[in-house]
C-alpha cells in the first residue's frame, strides 16, 4: 500500500506540474491583474491545436512549438485584452469587474465552437518519442512526457517570478494589478500594461500546450476540464504569487494522486472543492499570498 501511495503521489506531483503551468498563466491575469478570465482553458485549447497542427503539417516536435506558439499567443492575448477587456475596465471601477467575467465567458463559447467548426470533434493525438516513454526508478515509474512538463513548469515559474520582481514591466504589472487608478495617477500607461499581462498569460498557455500535446489529446472542449482546477490552484497558492501557483498545482496533483489511490477520482474532486472553499474562508491570501486583507 505504501508503495502504491508513493507511486500515486509521484504521478500526482508530475501532473501537478501541468496544473501549475496552466495556473501560472491564470495567476498573471487573475491573481495579479484581477481579470477574471474564464477563457483561460479555451486559450490553452487554442495553443494545443496550434502545436498539433505544427506537428502534423511541418513535423515540428511539440516541444519546439513554443518558438511559434508563444509569440502568436502573446499577440492573440494582447489583442484580446486590447479589443475586449480594456474597454470594460475603462468603464468599471471595481477591482474584479464581473463584466470581464461575462465577456471572457462569451469568448470561451465562441473560441470553443469555432474550433469545433474548423476541426470537428475529433480527438487528435500525436505520436512522438515522449508519448508513452517512461523511466523506471526501482519500484517506481516516471512518465517522460509528464516529467518534462514538470520541468517546463519549474522553468516558467522561475522566469515569471524573475520577470515580475526584477524587470520594470514586471513591477509595473504588479503595481497596476494592485490599483489601476493609482498606477495611472503615477503616470503608468495602465492599458498597455494590461495588454502585456494578458499577452504573457496567454503565451504561457503555449508552453503548457507544448508540454501537454505529446501525451494528451487535443479536442475543442479540452480546456474546460482544466479551467476550474486552475482557479482552485490560484486561490490555493495565493493570488499573484507565482511560486504559490506552482506549489498549488503540485498540491492539487498530490491530493488527486493520493486520494485517488485511497478512494476514487470523483472523491478527490469533491475534496479539492472543499479545500478550495475552506481556503477562501480561512486563509483568503492563499498559501503564499502576497496580499493581506
Amino acid at each position: 500500500m505504501t508503495e502504491l501511495v508513493i507511486q500515486g503521489a509521484l504521478s500526482g506531483l508530475l501532473i501537478g506540474g501541468i496544473y501549475g503551468l496552466i495556473a501560472l498563466g491564470l495567476n498573471l491575469v487573475f491573481g495579479t491583474m484581477r481579470v477574471v478570465n474564464f477563457a483561460q482553458g479555451t486559450l490553452l485549447m487554442v495553443g494545443m491545436f496550434m502545436a498539433y497542427w505544427l506537428f502534423v503539417l511541418t513535423g515540428l516536435h511539440p516541444y519546439l512549438s513554443p518558438l511559434v506558439t508563444v509569440p502568436a499567443l502573446f499577440a492573440l492575448g494582447y489583442a484580446l485584452q486590447y479589443f475586449l477587456v480594456t474597454p470594460l475596465l475603462a468603464r468599471e471601477r471595481a477591482r474584479e469587474p464581473m463584466s470581464v467575467l461575462l465577456m471572457t465567458l462569451g469568448l470561451a463559447l465562441v473560441l470553443e465552437n469555432l474550433a469545433l467548426m474548423l476541426f470537428r470533434g475529433d480527438y487528435k493525438t500525436v505520436q512522438v518519442r515522449e508519448t508513452s516513454a517512461v523511466w523506471i526508478l526501482g519500484d517506481y515509474i516516471v512518465s517522460v512526457g509528464r516529467f518534462w512538463s514538470f520541468v517546463a513548469m519549474l522553468g516558467t515559474v522561475t522566469a515569471l517570478w524573475l520577470f515580475l520582481s526584477r524587470t520594470d514591466l514586471g513591477r509595473a504589472i504588479r503595481a497596476v494589478g494592485q490599483d489601476r487608478q493609482v498606477a495611472r495617477l503615477l503616470g503608468m500607461n495602465d492599458r498597455v500594461i494590461y495588454n502585456y499581462a494578458f499577452g504573457i498569460s496567454t503565451a504561457v498557455m503555449g508552453i503548457a500546450a507544448a508540454a501537454l500535446v505529446p501525451f494528451y489529446y487535443t479536442h475543442p472542449a479540452v480546456g474546460t476540464s482544466f479551467l476550474l482546477k486552475a482557479f482552485v490552484i490560484v486561490v490555493l497558492g495565493g493570488l499573484g504569487s507565482m511560486p504559490g501557483a506552482a506549489l498549488g498545482g503540485l498540491a492539487v496533483g498530490l491530493i488527486e494522486g493520493v486520494i485517488g489511490i485511497w478512494t476514487e477520482a470523483a472523491v478527490a474532486q469533491i475534496l479539492l472543492f472543499a479545500v478550495f472553499i475552506a481556503m477562501l474562508f480561512f486563509r483568503p491570501a492563499g498559501l503564499l499570498g502576497l496580499e493581506r486583507k
Partner: protein, 414 residues
C-alpha cells in the same frame, strides 16, 4: 410599470416567431416522408453525431435514388436533423420541434441514452414511432408502444463481450480476476453492472469496480491502483478522451493484464486506435457492428466503402445502428402503404426479416422481429480486437473473420 412593457415585448416577439412558423407549415407536402433524426451535433460527442448524419444521408440518398418508397408512389424520404447537444432537455425540445414543426412521420435517435430516455417519451406521447439507438435496457422496458430497438441492449452487449473473452480464454489458460473501470454516467454505470454479473457467473473474481468522471484531466491513480491488484482482465467502459488516457497510462505503468477488454464507446473509435497506437493492439472490444462484417457480406462492404470514399472515415457502430433503424423504417413504410404514424408503428411492430441481404440486416442477427417491449430478441453483439491498427472481428465464430488469429495475451507496447 416596467413589468407590463417587458411582457408586452415578449408577447410581440412570440407573435412574430409564431407568424413565421405558420408560413412554414403551409409548405408541408404529401409526396415525401419526413424522418426526424436526433443526434449530438455539438458538444463533446459531436464527432459521433457527424458520422451518424453522413451515414443516414447516404442511406436516404440510396433509397431516394432507387425510386423512393414504391408503395407510396415513389415518395422521397427527407431527413430532418435535430441537435441534442447531448443534453436531455435539448433532446426533448428538439423532438418536440421535429414532431410538431417539421411534422416528421418517424424519429430515429438519440445516441446518448440519457437523451433518448426522455425524448422517446415525447415521441410516445405524440404517437410517433421512435427507432432507438442507445443501448440502455430500460429504454424499451417502460411499456411504451412506439419505441423500438432493432439492435442489442447493454445486457446483450455485455454478455457478448464476456462470452467472447471467456471463449477465447478457455483455450488459453482462463481468467481468474478482473477489474472494471467505467465512466460514471448512465451508460458506464449500466453496462458495468451487467459485465460484473456475467463475469462473476463465468467465475472471474471482480476485485475493483471504479466509476470515474469521464472529463477528469488525469486518471493515473485509478490505473496505478488497478495495476496493484494484478488482475488478469481489465474491462474499461469509456468515452474517447478517457479511453486514450487510460490506455496510455496502462502503457506507461507497464500494466499488462492478460486481457484488456472494453465495453464499446471510445475504444471503438478510429481516433482511439490511431491515438493509442501500439498500445491499442490486442484490445478486445464489444461492439454491435463493425465494418469487418462486410468481409462476409459484400453489400455491407459496398455501403461502407462508399461512406469512406465520401467522408474519409468508416461507418461507426452507432451510425450503423442508425442505418439499420432507418432501413427498418423503410421496410415498414413499404408495408404500411401510408404515412400515418400509427400505421407505420403497426408495420414496424410487424417487422419480420430473416433474409441476411435485406438492408435492415446491416447489423446482422438471425431474425429481425420486435417483442412486445419493442426489443429485437435475437439482436446480438460481437467482439472485435485491434490488430495492426484495425478492428478485426474475433467473436462469435459465425461472424468472426476466418483469417484472424486473436492476439493473446494483451501485450501493450511491448
Amino acid at each position: 410599470m416596467k413589468n407590463r412593457r417587458s411582457v408586452l415585448l415578449s408577447a410581440a416577439a412570440l407573435a412574430g416567431t409564431a407568424a413565421v412558423a405558420g408560413r412554414r407549415t403551409a409548405r408541408a407536402q404529401q409526396e415525401e416522408v419526413r424522418v426526424g433524426v436526433l443526434s449530438p451535433m455539438t458538444g463533446p460527442a459531436a464527432r459521433f453525431g457527424a458520422i451518424q448524419q453522413s451515414t443516414l444521408t447516404l442511406a436516404a440518398e440510396d433509397v431516394n435514388g432507387a425510386g423512393g418508397i414504391r408503395s407510396l408512389g415513389g415518395a422521397r424520404i427527407r431527413l430532418i436533423f435535430g441537435d441534442t447537444r447531448g443534453e436531455a432537455d435539448m433532446g426533448v425540445t428538439e423532438t418536440e420541434r421535429l414532431i410538431t414543426r417539421e411534422r416528421v412521420h418517424a424519429l430515429i435517435g438519440a445516441f446518448q441514452s440519457g437523451v433518448g430516455l426522455p425524448s422517446s417519451a415525447v415521441a410516445e406521447r405524440y404517437e410517433i414511432p421512435w427507432l432507438n439507438f442507445g443501448t440502455v435496457d430500460r429504454i424499451t422496458q417502460r411499456g411504451f408502444r412506439y419505441v423500438f430497438r432493432p439492435h442489442a441492449n447493454d445486457t446483450l452487449k455485455a454478455r457478448a463481450l464476456v462470452e467472447g473473452v471467456m471463449a477465447l480464454a478457455r483455450q488459453r489458460g482462463g481468467l481468474r480476476s478482473g477489474v472494471i473501470l467505467s465512466e460514471n454516467t448512465e451508460w458506464g454505470k449500466s453496462v458495468a453492472d451487467k459485465q460484473k454479473i456475467f463475469l462473476e457467473q463465468a467465475g472471474v473474481e471482480i476485485k475493483l469496480v471504479e466509476h470515474y468522471p469521464y472529463a477528469a484531466p488525469d486518471l493515473t491513480s485509478m490505473v496505478v491502483k488497478a495495476r496493484a491488484l494484478r488482475p488478469d482482465l481489465v474491462v474499461a467502459n469509456s468515452y474517447l478522451g478517457d479511453a486514450l488516457l487510460i490506455t496510455r497510462l496502462m502503457g506507461e505503468y507497464r500494466f499488462r493484464p492478460t486481457v484488456y477488454a472494453a465495453g464499446g464507446g471510445g475504444h471503438l473509435q478510429p481516433d482511439f486506435v490511431r491515438g493509442a497506437g501500439a498500445l491499442a493492439e490486442g484490445v478486445i472490444c464489444a461492439t454491435i457492428w463493425d465494418p469487418a462484417v462486410g468481409r462476409n457480406i459484400p453489400w455491407i462492404k459496398e455501403v461502407n466503402d462508399r461512406h469512406v470514399a465520401r467522408n474519409g472515415v468508416p461507418i461507426t457502430e452507432d451510425a450503423a445502428c442508425y442505418y439499420q433503424c432507418f432501413q427498418v423504417l423503410v421496410d415498414a413504410l413499404e408495408r404500411a402503404r401510408q404515412v400515418d404514424p400509427k400505421k407505420i408503428r403497426d408495420a414496424i411492430a410487424a417487422t419480420d426479416i430473416t433474409d441476411p441481404n435485406h438492408r435492415a440486416m446491416f447489423v446482422p442477427c438471425t431474425r429481425l422481429t420486435f417483442d412486445e417491449t419493442g426489443q429485437n430478441p435475437t439482436a446480438t453483439a460481437m467482439a472485435v480486437q485491434v490488430q495492426q491498427g484495425r478492428l478485426r472481428l474475433v467473436y462469435p465464430p459465425g461472424v468472426a473473420e476466418p483469417d484472424v488469429t486473436p492476439i493473446w495475451p494483451y501485450r501493450g507496447a511491448a
